[in-house]
Symmetry: C2
Amino acid sequence: MSPTTSPGPRERLLAAGQELFYSRGASVGVDALLKEANVARRSLYEHFGGKDGLVAAVLRRAAEDDLAWYEGALAGAAEPRERLLGLFDRLDDLVSDPAFRGCRYFATDLALADPGHPAHAESDAFRQRLRALLVRELQALGHDHPERAAEQLHLLIEGTLVMGATQDDPHPGRAARDLAATLLA
Amino acid sequence: MSPTTSPGPRERLLAAGQELFYSRGASVGVDALLKEANVARRSLYEHFGGKDGLVAAVLRRAAEDDLAWYEGALAGAAEPRERLLGLFDRLDDLVSDPAFRGCRYFATDLALADPGHPAHAESDAFRQRLRALLVRELQALGHDHPERAAEQLHLLIEGTLVMGATQDDPHPGRAARDLAATLLA
DNA sequence: CGATCAGTAGAACGATTGGTCTACATTCGA
DNA sequence: TCGAATGTAGACCAATCGTTCTACTGATCG
């Protein structure tokens, strides 16, 4: 149990899933995941019950990371209004990365047609937490209609991610930031 | 050649593809397409060369329909400004339909990992035509920065479609309309 | 009439899918 | 020291994928 113990198969599977599900979509084969994680086939089914379980577990973990990213992006400025506007600057950087492939949760939802798939619950949970974070921020800002404004900010965020994913727009974050600015006036 | 001749296999395949690719995604099996179209396996390969060809052909046809829909949505009002705002009302109706499953082109792009797939070219073409339509409308409106505003309107449209697809937002079109209104001021 | 052609119907293909199972290695605590 | 756990390695399975193929049918037209 030394602190430098190499991560076990469960951890490696989560890491491989986070990487491959994002870069190649939820349709990557189990074989590719096992190879990337250097893990035996059996370990996947013992730890996650199957591919579906891994997809859901990866989304759950990614939600933690992503929400922390949003918190960090908001922390870029002190003034309440600048905090939210700065978020779109960070988003613009994010989607400008050529490796950016769009919103993880939306892509997964689209890929998994079965509405009962456990991954959908994770997507919903993430979106609710993101929305709550926006509402909280708008309340701290003293906005008159935090719920309505959060809906609009959410729409701007999703729009930025889509525009960034299709790549034919160099700086969707800037376009969204300008719209957000009028919203926060 | 009577005018009531039932559509041939090519036409039925396009119709089946437009229906199934949208409702079940580009990953629907060839068997389901053939069954829906009531067409022999062989016809698919003679007319479209394979499933990839059908996917691309369906997107090309859908682009015509969808752009016509956008034109129609703009035609709802006479006053230039109301034309664009009315578009978001129509979008709100569209995404409120429980059968709405998001943007056809973006979903297809996400589903087809291979960047060389012919469907991507059709998606790009559609987006460019949509963008051109917005620019034209903004010019007619006498907007100071039609290109920039079109980018923002496009972002609002895509955002509306995403929010509508996830369903946890009853009226994303209204949120987008309000943002668009400030943009057109 | 007979040839051609577009169509249907469906068997069969090789590859790949997610999932199960057996055999063996390692670790670790009773 | 023995015996569970926990892991790896990989064969194997049934199902499904997109594709190719053969066999047959029904027009259309010289």
